[in-house]
């Protein structure tokens, strides 16, 4: 223990030393809304592999021992840790009993920026705590669980192995994609050894493509009456197993970790990408176990790319009624607020605006656990020129953005290659770090905006208060004690899906008094005295829900008594106490 502290202190000293060497505090002037001289310096215009993310997590926890705790919630298939930062004001209240906001990223291997976005949230909250009253109050009330990547194997393989912007989507568990009994026998091949899997084209008198006159790097399809010059031969690869198909069995698309969750799960012949059964992937299983152990999680966010979307479920049409009207009010209010924060992002519904997807993470969080959950599809072409653009990666805005703002750093120029099966071809195209991942200079600002959305979401989780305790004398030594428990935020303590299926236990409102409690009841209408008695254990009244921006009223009949303490214990609303 002592050793750990010493190491921590030493490490903090080391970074402070480093930052002092670079700049002294007097030389810096605070830009509004950003920490001016953070204890942990992180460069947010680049990406980090799994080890890099872990290093930042460790530094945050070491620099802010009262605000951040660092743990591994499980291991990936290849044995990497699933790192989690718990962010709250550890000096105030029991973290496990505060309403919780869960954030993860990178469930799809190539959708990497979710990890930086999630981690930025942890970094910002800890570094801004001292300066910002709002964040002090937020971390007194709430707890954030930040798991930057829930797919570290896939992340590292995307970063360190040859890939394109779309690959791999899977984790690393081996699968025989083409059902021929062999595993990964015909993967992509980085023919030009540049770490990027780009495209193959070949000059052909019968090709249906030509060079784009506006940007010669771009290939465009010719019109139906036009003669073409090139044919496109797909992504860089060979037919290694001689089955007449190129690159058909690699590790890139063997399964989809976001079709592996325990609500509405369907097998792979219905839902492409599904694995064996819900939570059959070790990473998702670890997340599920973490969520089951943290019933205080009331809100959740997962980060994907791309397209600029704030998504809610359902993933399948069958669940349209699962997302019922009462819960949609909350979803819509937060989602529409998000559209204001996030230029170019639209609040959409998975099954009707995107595609049908069974067994997705957001459906399990909401329908399986009653947690209000969004998936954001990070990065939108809108951010290139701040106007609606096409989402086609071959569209010219992408090329001109690369030309004028990235100085052609995002493109591998076409060059000749002698292919064993196709003969003389050319290889070229966008690098894997562009078209889906944010370019460096836009990373921090969009991370900040998405974090603001998460903070608003978290802020909306229940905040309970014992508003009023009133004693009325009934004569004969009997007292009627009425308590009003209010919820000051938008979310109820039980989403309607939760209340309907009793996912989480009722909220307990208990009275402690020196008198004898004869009866306890919930009050439906205080003015007209409409009540329902709870005969068993009247001291602790169970209420199924405390509505958002609303209140519940309970009362007890007490013999004797005097001082009254009312304790409210809600899994997602936390614990509050009031006395009279």
């Amino acid at each position: 223990m002592k050793l750990t502290i010493q190491i921590a202190i030493a490490s903090v000293g080391l970074w402070m030393g480093t930052s002092a060497m670079a700049q002294t505090p007097e030389q810096m002037f605070k830009a509004a809304g950003s920490p001016v001289n953070p204890k942990v310096t992180v460069t947010w215009n680049r990406y980090y592999d799994h080890a890099g993310l872990g290093e930042i997590c460790r530094k945050i926890a070491a620099a802010h021992p009262n605000l951040a705790k660092f743990e591994s919630i499980g291991k990936s298939y290849e044995g990497r840790d699933l790192w989690c930062l718990t962010i709250t004001d550890f000096k105030k209240g029991d973290p496990a009993r505060k309403p919780g906001m869960y954030i993860d990223g990178n469930i799809h291997s190539n959708e990497i920026q979710g990890a930086e976005f999630a981690l930025y949230t942890a970094w910002y909250l800890t570094e801004s705590f001292d300066d910002t009253k709002f964040i002090q109050e937020l971390l007194e009330d709430k707890v954030f669980y930040v798991i930057p990547t829930i797919n570290p194997d896939g992340r590292d393989s995307y970063i360190h192995k040859p890939n394109n912007p779309n690959s791999p989507r899977s984790g690393m568990l081996p699968v025989d994609n083409d059902g021929d009994g062999l595993i990964d026998e015909d993967t992509y091949e980085d023919l030009d050894h540049d770490g990027n899997i780009t495209l193959m084209r070949r000059k052909s008198p019968n090709g249906r493509f030509k060079i784009d006159p506006k940007d010669p790097r771009n290939m465009v399809q010719v019109g139906p009456d036009e003669k073409g010059e090139y044919e496109l031969l797909g992504t860089e690869g060979l037919d290694k197993d001689g089955d007449g198909r190129v690159g058909e069995d690699g590790y890139h698309f063997q399964y989809d970790p976001n079709r592996d969750w325990g609500w509405g799960w369907q097998p792979n012949y219905i839902q492409n990408g599904a694995y064996k059964y819900p939570f059959s992937l070790p990473e998702n299983r670890a997340v599920m176990e973490f969520v089951m152990k943290h019933p205080n999680i009331a809100a959740a966010q997962s980060f994907h790319n791309a397209g600029g979307m704030i998504l809610r479920g359902p993933g399948g049409q069958e669940d349209v009624n699962t997302y019922n009207a009462a819960d949609l009010q909350v979803y819509d209010a937060i989602g529409k607020k998000g559209e204001e924060f996030l230029p170019g992002y639209k609040y959409l519904v998975v099954y009707k605006d995107l595609y049908s997807a069974y067994g997705g993470e957001l459906d399990w969080f909401y329908a399986g656990r009653g947690i209000y959950t969004y998936s954001n599809e990070l990065w939108t072409p809108y951010l290139m020129f701040m106007k609606e653009g096409s989402r086609d990666p071959f569209d010219n805005p992408t090329y001109s953005f690369d030309r004028y703002l990235l100085f052609q750093d995002a493109f591998v120029p076409w060059k000749e290659y002698n292919h064993p099966q196709f003969g003389k071809i050319e290889i070229g195209g966008f690098k894997k770090n562009f078209t889906r991942a944010h370019p460096g200079f836009l990373l921090e600002s969009d991370a900040h905006r998405n974090m603001a959305f998460s903070i608003y979401h978290c802020y909306s989780t229940p905040k309970l208060e014992v508003q009023d305790i009133v004693e009325k004398d009934l004569g004969d030594g009997l007292k009627e004690v009425t308590a009003v428990i209010a919820n000051q935020r938008m979310m109820p303590t039980h989403s309607s899906q939760d209340a309907k299926n009793k996912i989480e236990r009722p909220d307990y409102i208990s009275l402690t008094t020196s008198g004898k409690i004869l009866s306890g009841m919930t009050v439906e209408n205080r003015d007209l005295n409409l009540t329902t008695e709870q005969k068993n254990n009247p001291q602790t009244i169970e209420v199924p829900n405390i509505p958002g921006m609303g209140a519940v009223t309970v009362k007890w009949i007490v013999q004797g008594g005097g001082k009254y303490t009312v304790n409210v214990d809600s899994k997602k609303g936390g614990i509050v106490i009031g006395s009279k």
């Binding site: 059902g179 609500w263 012949y269 219905i270 059964y277 819900p278 069958e318 169970e542």
Partner: protein, 543 residues
């Protein structure tokens, strides 16, 4: 003398005298170990996992040579903890099969087929049968909050008459919906208000409302039931189903094993589901639903064929109607595992004929309990009915409450002595089913010289079996391997025409497909054809 001889014969047949009662978990484990130790070349026993109750989930692999390379049938018992017969049928099948392993027919069978026997998927629940308090339990030892109120096991059954069994409880009540059976006053049946009938009793399970919430016995030691915990139409949040599909260790252990067992073509389970007495009918609308809800037509035909085989071999009649509850193994085996899947209770109470000597008449109202009592009497089975007896009940202080009724377990588990015959019939069925399995062969192999160093190779790929190599649904699943035809050439040979590797989704029963190649070069060429569910055939040719 005769009796001694008979006993000696039994000893020889069984290795020991047959037990008179169902085996508990320790005894089952013993039987499995004995079988595996005595037959190391035919049987391997392994534990797939331990349940939350600390009990092993055993897997017996029966076969010869490389068992994983032979088409296989999975046999699953104990899908419901209250169904002891199912575990007996599974273990008894293994014992019977091994007993016959010196005969040519079983030798030939085990040369071609592997059996994966899961004797007991509900060992935690099954032990309730052997414990001090008997009640029909299907849930495992996982702690569950069945009524989802935040408290665990606060209101279970109570043995009010102290007989060690949970039976029924009837309460005289003006709002009661049950009345006495006109032909057997011991039995209560539901009154039919549409016929102007009025009930006299509330009919409940034996117990007290321990937590005074107005519901009786709603949260005892529930646990999760294996046959509700699988992935097809899982009733999430329902008592005993689990908060999500495959939440339990034993469920996952079986799924993990089977999803990697690409050679399994059929799953036979013993439990309350039944598509063997009556096949599941083809429903064209259900078969077209996006979330598939009915058998595809060719698979419904296979069910019909196998059902006929089952009825012929076992001679069992008058089965109760099949009710699929969701989350069950029968549905999983087909809809999610995409294999041929069959299930049977293995036994049910036969329809008892009225004993005219006793002036009995046919029942005016059919009722399983009334039928059981008549049948039991004819079989000389006694002590399975507790006469109604008045008890003092705290929840009904001013009403007449009586406890009684038939014993738990008796409607689905025959007296143990009857299991010998049932095991034999089901062994026959499982052997005959393997006789129908898909079998790949290569016929009409031809090599024609076209010119110097150029040869046309052709053959017919044939499925000689009575089943297709894949279920129709299996053609869509990536947890089945394709039927592969691969030509292996050396560096001096070149395939000029035809594919080096062909992948077929399936080959129907009794059908063939022709293949041909043009190969340049000389020397030996080998062609491998087959798939795990139908076996692999290799042919070597000289060009």
């Amino acid at each position: 003398m005769k009796r001694t001889l008979f006993a000696a014969l039994l000893v020889w047949m069984w290795g020991s005298l047959p037990a008179q009662e169902y085996s508990n978990f320790a005894e089952q484990t013993n039987r499995l170990n004995t079988l595996a130790k005595a037959n190391p070349t035919l049987v391997t026993l392994r534990s797939l996992t331990k349940t939350n109750g600390g009990k092993d989930i055993w897997l017996l692999t029966i076969g010869t040579g490389k068992t994983e390379n032979k088409p296989a049938i999975a046999v699953i018992g104990g899908t419901e903890g209250s169904h002891l017969l199912g575990t007996e049928l599974a273990i008894g099948f293994a014992e019977n099969l091994i007993k016959g392993s010196n005969t040519d027919s079983i030798k030939n069978l085990l040369a071609k087929t592997t059996y994966y026997v899961f004797p007991n998927m509900s060992p935690d629940a099954m032990e309730q049968y052997f414990s001090k308090l008997k009640y029909e339990r299907n849930g495992n030892a996982t702690q569950t909050d069945d009524d989802r109120d935040g408290k665990l096991n606060e209101d279970g059954f109570d043995d009010l008459d102290g007989n060690g069994k949970i039976t029924l409880m009837r309460v005289e009540s003006p709002v009661g919906d049950y009345k006495m059976h006109p032909d057997d006053p011991r039995v209560l049946i539901k009154a039919d208000p549409s016929k102007g009938e009025k009930g006299k009793y509330l009919l409940l399970m034996e117990g007290i409302d321990n937590d005074k919430d107005g519901q009786l016995n709603e949260d005892g030691e529930g646990g999760i039931a294996f046959n509700k915990n699988l992935t097809y139409k899982h009733s999430t949040f329902a008592a005993g189903a689990g908060d999500f599909p495959a939440s339990e260790k034993e469920t996952r252990a079986m799924l993990d094993f089977l999803y990697d067992a690409f050679n399994v073509y059929a799953v036979i389970s013993f439990g309350s589901n039944n598509n063997l007495s009556t096949p599941i009918a083809f429903n064209p609308i259900a078969a077209r639903e996006r979330i598939l809800a009915g058998y595809l037509e060719p698979d419904a035909k296979v069910n019909m064929m196998v059902s006929e085989l089952y009825n012929k071999v076992t001679g069992l009649k008058d089965a109760p109607k099949n009710v699929n509850t969701g989350g069950d193994i029968l549905s999983w085996g087909y809809f999610h595992f995409a294999r041929f899947s069959f299930s049977t209770p293995g036994w049910w109470v036969p329809r008892a004929k009225p004993d005219t000597a006793k002036k009995e008449k046919a029942f005016t109202i059919e009722d399983p309990t009334a039928n059981y009592l008549r049948w039991a009497q004819q079989q000389g089975i006694s002590n399975t009915f507790t006469e109604w007896k008045t008890v003092q009940h705290p929840d009904y202080p001013n009403q007449k409450v009586e406890v009684g009724g038939i014993d738990p377990y008796v409607l689905t588990n025959p007296p143990y002595k009857m299991t010998v015959e049932l095991v034999k019939k089901h062994t026959d069925f499982l052997v005959k089913l393997a006789g129908q399995q898909a079998e790949i062969d290569v016929l009409n192999v031809k090599t024609e010289k076209l010119a110097n160093g150029l040869t046309r190779v052709s053959f017919d790929l044939v499925n000689k079996g009575g089943l297709s190599t894949h279920s129709k649904l299996g053609e869509r699943s990536y947890f089945l391997k394709k039927l592969k035809v691969a030509v292996k050439t050396n560096d001096k040979q070149e395939i000029i025409g035809g594919r080096k590797i062909s992948l077929l989704s399936s080959l129907d029963a009794n059908s063939s497909q022709s293949f041909s190649w043009i190969i340049k070069g000389t020397g030996k060429v080998s062609i491998e054809a087959g798939c795990p569910t139908a076996g692999v055939k290799t042919i070597d040719l000289s060009l």
